[in-house]
Symmetry: C2
Subunit: 428 residues, 2 copies
């Protein structure tokens, strides 16, 4: 048994999970691969945390040097949130020659280029399995398991908060506000849930997955992002009548003309495997040429699931395997120019819900404009008018370039055929 | 870009897939990790294969020495079927100091101890991601991704032939014979499908998965095996009325009293994630303490999916990572005694279908005997008698020790309450 001293920076939920998991089940790692992992030093903003959880003999302090200056520590578990401060701490660890295991997707999505370059220059590894989809080993699956299989598309549910809210809205008919409050009560959503519900967190994870899948330098500006804040119960109901569920889907698709990257609420037909990924679970559906379709589902967040992924990375680093990965794989430092597909060239099936006045000629006017813009309609449904003489017309299109669809919708709204801005959704 | 010369032993379906994948998409591996993989020597029983597929410049022969004596070849792709001859070839590769990548689960399940020991002594790696669930990176997920998470149970669909047959029987109401013939026509089943349909192939894969998950020496004798040969359309119909599908499930479960290992046709309730793994897909559902539930689904067989896993292993070996895995993980050479749970101590929910004469007192007789043996009934259903005065009684039990259930069934059959041997199934 080989003893490994680890430094831990950040003693929040996940940091607590790491200590908890080592204390409770560290014997599993010892049994499997003869490594005795021990957190020997903890740096935290709030040393008072030691009042609620045992540090298991680790020295606790607030000064980063506690870890940086300890030559016994070769690997640092970096669990600092946010972007800029987290990056500074990460770069300090690299400069001190420490390998870094992090769960911080925001930091890597925004500052990955600088961090990976610094790590490559110093010859240390930045491991981040825990940053995407928690306990699901999706980074390893995309990077190693599918290394020989050209990936053509990824569709993924990567935010448990959004998935929980959407599931509760659908299954229990809660309002968005009530579902969000419930998610917060259960610890699935932060006190400030903004970057979860507005799609930013999902986009951070998509940036990392796509970077590996396509060996491409992806910035946040490359991803079109829509959140779930405006999803109404009526959207959920409309989806149901069409045999689909609304999920916040991160999508990356390699087309001959370029790469398409998007985070958006999306109609997922019941028969698609991601439709059954419910509550706080995450799911990743990968299409690749040789391997065909691969689906991974599991716990995407939470103290122990994330700690599981963090410690898996620690084992990868401590055995020396991750350094071989770092020195070999090109996605860390690629500068290959990326050809992104503009929204107008995306080819997807879409859904629109028009709120229209209940008077003659409206349906004809809408179908005319759709046809003029080359939008091929798959199905159309007109509801009964309500007591304010307002009716709903729902349209699902065949797959077509996004540009035509969006222009058609704009024209319809502009011509006064609708009484509210039209709601649109992608369809998987 | 680093060029790597590979030897290939066995030029069948998967060997052809490896050559095909390298020819078609070898650029993907080059782009991702700068490795230029090339099969330079092929040893095959039938060099005539070169008439139907290009060897891409490789030297083709029938003598193993062609590969063993080539110092440029450090890694051998071993795609020889069967057990004993395959083992001899594998040991010869090891003796020659070659790393081995194999898709042969039968060989490793039966001769794994000898092969892993020889490889450890020689300092080479035996990589076998392709041996279990084809393109799905489940070996890596269990070994590395979940290294920190104590695995408590695995339930898996590991044989595409059986899953295809059962799906066609259910969805298209084909007979077992017709579904098998269809599977053979599509290349999902071998000309001799025995080891697929009798559960042996699934057990080979379970032995390997359980070895890794529980760091235990598993032999084929440790696994109780039932196949799908006797599954009738009536079984499928009964499952449907109970909201379940029949799947051939490989199950490993760690209980305080011991490890339970089993391959058997099993009722999988619709709401279980494995119920939706249909046709020729494989699926693995893993319960572990820290990571919770994890599900992996994908293509478990076929030329390109298996080749994808083979080449992923080749990359792992050629980068040197796999040697670090081999030298570190204990499952390769563990001799820890394994405490297996006897069938009588297994705790599962079960199903029985009694064929009974249509006369008074039979139902009472059956429920009496079940009760006397401590079998707690969850539901009971008695069908209308057919025109031969034969009726069907179906019983689902609450979870209970397997011994009580089997003894009760035996007593019922022995007392002449039934007119045919009773059909029993496990319930997931």
């Amino acid at each position: 048994v080989q003893r490994c001293a680890l430094g831990l920076i950040g003693w929040g939920t996940v940091g607590g999970g790491v200590l908890d998991l080592l204390a409770r089940d560290g014997a599993v790692i010892r049994q499997r691969c003869g490594l005795d992992l021990a957190v020997t030093r903890i740096v935290t903003r709030d040393p008072g945390r030691a009042r609620t959880q045992s540090a298991a003999g680790a020295t606790v302090g607030t000064d980063l040097r506690l870890i940086l200056d300890d030559p016994a520590i070769g690997t640092v578990i970096h669990l600092v949130g946010g972007t800029d401060v987290a990056r500074d701490i990460c770069l300090a660890c690299i400069a001190a020659g420490k390998h870094v295991v992090t769960a911080n997707k925001a930091m890597l999505a925004v500052h990955g280029d600088a961090i990976f370059a610094a790590a490559a220059a110093k010859g240390v590894g930045i491991a981040f399995e825990a940053a995407v989809a928690g306990a699901i080993p999706v980074i390893a699956a995309v990077r190693d398991g599918l290394v020989a299989s050209r990936i053509t598309g990824i569709s993924a549910i990567l935010n448990g908060t959004c998935n929980y809210i959407l599931t509760r809205m659908e299954v229990d008919e809660l309002s968005y506000t009530d579902a969000l409050a419930e998610a917060q009560r259960l610890g699935y959503a932060e006190a400030d849930p903004t970057i979860d519900v507005d799609g930013t967190d999902t986009a951070h994870k998509l940036a990392l997955l796509a970077r590996i899948a396509f060996t491409a330098r992806i910035t946040m500006a490359d991803i079109r992002i829509e959140g779930i804040q405006n999803i109404s119960f009526q959207d959920i109901e409309s989806a149901r009548t069409m045999g689909a569920r609304i999920k916040l889907i991160a999508a990356a698709r390699q087309r001959p003309e370029g790469l398409e990257l998007r985070v958006a609420p999306t109609l997922v037909p019941y028969e698609h495997p991601l439709a059954d990924v419910s509550r706080n679970f995450n799911g990743i559906h990968i299409d690749s040429v040789a391997a065909g379709a691969t689906l991974l589902v599991g716990q995407g967040a939470g103290a122990l699931p994330t700690a599981s992924a963090v410690l898996a990375d620690v084992v990868d680093v401590v055995t020396g395997r991750y350094q071989l990965t770092s020195s070999r794989f090109n996605f860390f430092t690629t500068t290959a120019p990326l050809r992104l597909l503009p929204e107008t060239e995306e080819v997807t099936s879409s859904y629109a819900r028009f709120q229209v006045p209940d008077k003659p000629g409206i349906l004809a006017g809408i179908t005319n404009l759709l046809s003029q813009h080359g939008v091929s309609v798959q199905s159309i449904h007109q509801g009964q008018p309500d007591d304010r003489q307002c009716a709903t017309i729902e349209v699902v299109t065949h797959p077509l370039p996004g540009g035509s669809f969006l222009t058609a919708i704009e024209a319809i709204d502009r011509q006064g055929l609708t009484i509210k801005p039209t709601v649109t959704l992608r369809r998987l």
